[in-house]
Structures are given as structure tokens and as C-alpha cells.
């Protein structure tokens, strides 16, 4: 047993944290969010320079060949800083491409991702499917050498910044994955509650290239979703850590009735419960990442990830709500970072499946054992 990060992991996490603390403070982030694109190319270049864009990509394509555990440190830092750049979105799609794609596809795209020249997004949600990624209404038909897709993907985070999309669609043989030029899709871009950019993506007989074997994509999609969930769990831990730190600081410094409000036992206990929830969430984020990397089979991996997401969704909701409540009116103010952390944690609670989704999934996996 060893819960420590390796020296390499620790160095990278520290470097990312240092960079974000220096160049991605709350004010800098505010400017990025208010810009027309809603994300920063300069920040992206820095992420690439730090090696983050190659972290989960195999070495033969220029990456570091890291796993989910290697991503914990950077994702925690991203959560603390409330990074709005579509980093996780790109990494999830890139890893999926690295696993399911052909050699030619990987050679064409992954080195560019590593170098920070290309962003990707995974378009897997649909209007009528809620969190169930297997209910795919988008259709694919053969057209000459290639394929054409028709359908709609919704709330695709990072789509407006992405050059290519990995899209799930159904052929006669079943669930399949495709690569699509983002520029050939029709997008309805939107701003999300957590100040990121996403889009509904309309596919109207859009050209596509098959990614992996036709009809056999579900295991890849499930694995990608579990990887993505592990990332968001780690990110949540960082965001909750900020929420706890900021609230603790407020309890110590805010005075009412002549004393710091942190001297009131009713508030002390609530602060303690926030910290306990965050500690439990951290444990589950470790579990999820380590099982994504090393589970004996897909079932073991899925159980661990769902268990983690149940805890993290509950904790994200609890910690975010309490952090605002204990800040009083200040917690409601847009000028306070904690209110933005609240928004990110609110989204995280439902991202890649809310607690209810994962409760049902966990129960189904139990029943199937």
C-alpha cells in the first residue's frame, strides 16, 4: 500500500499548481471567461508546455503514456483554479482515439494534440438519453469510402474550440464511434453554468470517418466515460478543497457579535462535516483513478467509478451548498470566487452521471455479479 504520488507525479502537480496560481488567478480567469471565445489560447499553450496535453497519450505519439492516476494532480489543480479551458474534454477524446483509433488516425491527430495545436471533444450526450450513453439516436450510413452522420449531440463541452469531434452513432451493427471535422457540423454554442463553452452539435448527413470497429464501440464508450468520471472526481476534490479553505478562512476572519463566527459551535460542526466530506471524496477519487488504470475487468472498474461518483456527487452538492451558506451574503456574490466554485461543483454533481445514475448503475452491476 502506498498512497503517495511518485516523484514525477508530484513534480508535475506542483508545476501545474504553481503555473495556475501565478497566471490563472481569479481576475485573470474572469477576463478569459468574458472574452468572445471564453477560453485562452495562451493558457492552452502553457498547458502544452507543461506537458499536460500529452499526459495520457502514448509515448509513440509524443505523449507521456500516463494513466488516470497521473491525471489526479493536474485535475485537482484545475478544480482549485476553476480552469475553463477544455482540457478534460480534449484528453478524454484523445485517449479514446488512442485506444480505438487506427494507426493512421492516431498519427494524424495525437501528436498535434500533444503539441497543443489541436483540441478535441467527445460528443456523446443526446437530448432524449439523459446520462445513458448507450441510447444513441444519431445514425451513421455508409457513403462511398466513408460515412455520413445524422442526428444531434447536446451540451458537448469544448466543441466550439475543437477541430475534431469524436461522435457516437449507430450503424446497422450497433454503437460505433466516428471522427468528424468540427467545421463541417452545425453548432449552437452556449455558455454553461460553470462558465465553459459547449455546443449542441447538429449532424446533417455530415461526413465522418469510422473510429474503431463498427458496432463494437460500447466498451470503448464506457471506458472513456469511466476515465472522464475519474478525471472529474479529481477535479471535484480540488474545487472542494478551495471551497473548504475559503470557508475556513471566512469563519476565522468574519466577526459578528464581537467574535469570529468560527467560534460558534453550530458553524464549527458544519465546517467539520465539509472537511470530512472532502476527505471521503478524495479517497474515492483515488479509488476511481486507480481502478480505471488497473481494474481486473470492466465490471470492477465500473463499480469503483460509480461508487466514487456517488460519493463525489453528494459531496460536491453538500460542500458547495455549505460553503455559500457559511459565507452568508458574500457567498452569493459574483465577486467572490467561492460562488464560481459553487457553480462548478453544481455541474460536477451531474457531470458524467449524477448520483442517481450511478446508484442505478452500481445496483445493476451488483445484480449481474
Amino acid at each position: 500500500m502506498n498512497f503517495d504520488y511518485s516523484e514525477e507525479q508530484q513534480l508535475l502537480a506542483d508545476a501545474v499548481r504553481r503555473y495556475l496560481a501565478k497566471d490563472y488567478g481569479f481576475e485573470a480567469r474572469k477576463k478569459i471567461v468574458a472574452s468572445p471565445e471564453g477560453w485562452s489560447e495562451a493558457v492552452w499553450r502553457q498547458l502544452a508546455e507543461l506537458g499536460l496535453t500529452g499526459l495520457p497519450i502514448p509515448a509513440e505519439y509524443g505523449g507521456f503514456g500516463g494513466g488516470a492516476v497521473d491525471m489526479i494532480g493536474p485535475m485537482e489543480a484545475a478544480g482549485e483554479a476553476l480552469l475553463v479551458e477544455p482540457y478534460a474534454a480534449t484528453m478524454v477524446a484523445a485517449r479514446l482515439l488512442a485506444r480505438a483509433g487506427s494507426e493512421a488516425q492516431k498519427r494524424a491527430i495525437l501528436p498535434q494534440v500533444v503539441e497543443g495545436r489541436l483540441r478535441l471533444a467527445f460528443a456523446c450526450l443526446e437530448r432524449g438519453a439523459r446520462h445513458d450513453l448507450s441510447r444513441i439516436g444519431t445514425r451513421a450510413r455508409r457513403a462511398g469510402d466513408g460515412w455520413r452522420l445524422s442526428g444531434e449531440k447536446v451540451a458537448v463541452v469544448g466543441a466550439p474550440a475543437a477541430a475534431r469531434l469524436v461522435v457516437s452513432a449507430r450503424t446497422e451493427k450497433g454503437a460505433s464511434l466516428f471522427l468528424v471535422e468540427a467545421g463541417e457540423t452545425k453548432q449552437r454554442p452556449c455558455v454553461t453554468l460553470d462558465e465553459m463553452r459547449a455546443a449542441d452539435v447538429l449532424l446533417e448527413d455530415t461526413r465522418a470517418e469510422l473510429l474503431g470497429a463498427e458496432g463494437e464501440a460500447m466498451p470503448w464508450i464506457e471506458e472513456a466515460a469511466d476515465f472522464a468520471t475519474a478525471l472529474v472526481c479529481a477535479e471535484a476534490v480540488g474545487a472542494m478543497k478551495y471551497a473548504c479553505d475559503a470557508t475556513l478562512e471566512y469563519l476565522k476572519t468574519r466577526k459578528q457579535f464581537g467574535v469570529p463566527i468560527g467560534s460558534f459551535q453550530a458553524l464549527q460542526h458544519r465546517m467539520v462535516d465539509m472537511v470530512i466530506a472532502t476527505e471521503q471524496a478524495r479517497s474515492m477519487a483515488c479509488l476511481a483513478a486507480s481502478k480505471v488504470d488497473g481494474a481486473a475487468d470492466a465490471c470492477e472498474r465500473a463499480r469503483a467509478v460509480s461508487a466514487a461518483k456517488i460519493k463525489i456527487s453528494d459531496a460536491a452538492r453538500h460542500v458547495s451548498q455549505e460553503s455559500v451558506q457559511l459565507h452568508g451574503g458574500m457567498g452569493m456574490s459574483e465577486e467572490m470566487k467561492v460562488s464560481h466554485t459553487f457553480r462548478r461543483l453544481t455541474v460536477i454533481a451531474g457531470e458524467w452521471g449524477d448520483a442517481e445514475h450511478h446508484l442505478a448503475r452500481f445496483a445493476a452491476l451488483e445484480a449481474a455479479r
Binding site: 452556449c190 454553461t192 453554468l193 459578528q256 463566527i261 455559500v324 457553480r343
Partner: protein
Amino acid sequence: MDLNYSKEELAFRDEVRGWIAENLPQDLRDKVANYEELSKEDLLRWHRILAKKGWVAPHWPVEWGGTGWGVVERYIFEEECGYAGAPPLVPFGLMMCGPVLLRFGTEAQKKRFLPRIYNGDDFWCQGYSEPGSGSDLASLKTRAERRGDRYIVNGQKIWTTLGHYADWIFCLVRTDANAAKKQEGISFLLIDMKSPGITVRPLILMDGGHEVNEVFFDDVEVPVENLVYEEGKGWTVAKYLLGYERLNTGRIGASKRELARLKEFAARQPGDDGRPILEDPRFRDKLTRVEVELAALEITNLRFLDRMRRTGQPPGAEVSLLKIKGTEIQQAITELFMQAAGPLARAVRPADGAAGFDRFTGVLAPRYCNFRKTTIYAGSNEIQRNIIAKMTLGL
């Protein structure tokens, strides 16, 4: 024991319901139902419709325009307005400044201000909280110095709801910095928002909305005739106001309407299995718990009303219970709405103003964020629990 309204009360309810159905403009009803922002004009339009009917201030004495209704009728009226989806009546004039003037004001003050509050001619806001004085309101620092026939006011108020709409602000100010207790030396002043030296700065809340403000006072001159009650007795006025019987603190009518809307909405949103999320047992259970909680609160509220009616005593710490449970229910409803929309609730606005954006779904998550304020404002729920602990339980 009979938990039902009497025949007369039911007839009264039907009368109110029928009148609202005929007189509440559809566009206002739609705005409320769709969680759209209400403009100052929207708020005043409904206010004036009620004023014309004579129902805008039922709790005021009849000679000032009150209806003479008993507590149960007043409760029925307020809940029917909420249930129908009428815009809320802004409380600062009707429910706060008005009752204060009726209790403590001079005849001249009553004549000057009450009719204008009644008719919606003056829009009022409340100058209570300060950056350093929230839960500990009595520690407020905004000071008013008497110079001849005026006060010179300097300081800052915060969280001033709708201050950007207001013509007048009622303020707690410190007139005696050397008083033995901090509650002493506070006075209650009425201040014209057009006075030179007042600056209103918006405070944007986390949902991006502008409803509260900071109000700065820089050598603002206030005529002494705008002092309410005696100098140094402002805390007595403030306490009266805080304890003023607010029968609809639980906002039960509005929550009932929203729950009905939530069910309609959830019946159209897919769950993970493709069937409506409303049929998902996990979602259904959560929804039912909120419904049951609301049913309990309604009965509790009626029990308090019945006691008030029979004893003639104003409610005490009971109002704190209604505030705690009422706000928790309101928050739970906003959360269930957001949950019903699932991943679609994440998008809150189009990036390029593009058409085709589902505004209702987009407002659900910001509304959830916005409603976190309900357990903080008007005496945080922690303060409400302190009140029950102290006043009811003697702890």
C-alpha cells in the same frame, strides 16, 4: 378537530381566486411561471391593479386602505396570489415601512407616505445590513449627525434589494456613538434616494442577476422630520419590524404552483431509461418528500393561524419555523427542476445570442444558484434557529 376551512372561508377563497383569474394579466402570469426577470414596471403593474381593487394592503387599518380581513382571510389571499403566479408584492413599503409608520409615525408622516406606498407612487427599499453588520445588525456603523434641522448621514448599506428601483430608503443609522449598549443610539430615518451624496452600486449575484446593491451615503442631508419615532429608539422600531406578523413567510401557494409545474416538466424530460424522469422511482421519491414536507408546512401554518385567531396574539418564534421550512422547500424545488432537466440544464445561455435556445431549461440552474439566497436573507436560517432556541426553548 377540523382541519378544513369553514364554508365562509371557502367562499372567500373562491371569490379571491375568481377575481385573480380575471385580473392578473396573462403576460405577468407567464413571466412568473417561466421564471423570467420581472421589471420594476411589471412589479408595479400588479401592485396598482390590487391598489385599485383595494386589496394591496389588507393588513393596514381600514382608514388607510386595509380590508378588515382576519388573519385567515389574509393568509388565503396571499397564498392565492402565490398559487396563481402573481408577481410578488415588494414588501419594503407595504409590509415594512407602512406598518412602521402606522405604529410609530407622526400624523404628518402617515399622510405624506402611506397613500403613496399604497398606490405604488413611491418604491421603497430597506437600509439595514452593512458590510460589517449582517446577523449582528445592532453593530451597524452608518452614522447620522444632527445639525440644526437636518441629519448628515455617512456610511454604507449592503444587500439593498431593488435599491436601484427605489425612490426612498428606510435606514437604521447610529445617532449616538457613545450609547452604553449598541442597540441604543440607533435611529430610524426615511431618506429620499434622490438626495445628493447617495450612490447606488450594483452587486451582481452568482446567477448574474442584479437585484441587490450597495448604497453609499456621503454627507447626505436628511430633514429631521424624516426621523421615525424618537432619536435613539430605532432599535425598538427595527425589532417591531422584524417581528411583524408575516403570514406568508412559508410561500406555500407559490411552492404548490411550482410543484405542479415541476411535475408537468418532469413528465416531459427523459430519464436514463428513456421513460419520463417523473416515473423514475429515485426522482419520484425525492419529489414526494418535498410534497409531503410542503403539506406538513401548510398544516403547521394553519395551526399557527388558528392559534393567532383565537388568542389574538401575534406569532412569535413560529415565524422562524415557517421561514426555515419554507425556504428549504423552495430550494428543494429549484434543485429538482435542475435535476429533471439533467445534462441539458448545464447550458444557461446561447454564446452568440443564437436562436433556438431553450430559455426555460436554461434558467433552471441559475435559479437553483439564486435560491441559495433564501436561507441567507431576512435573518439567515442559522439566526432563525437561534431565535427558536432562545425564545421558544429558553436555551
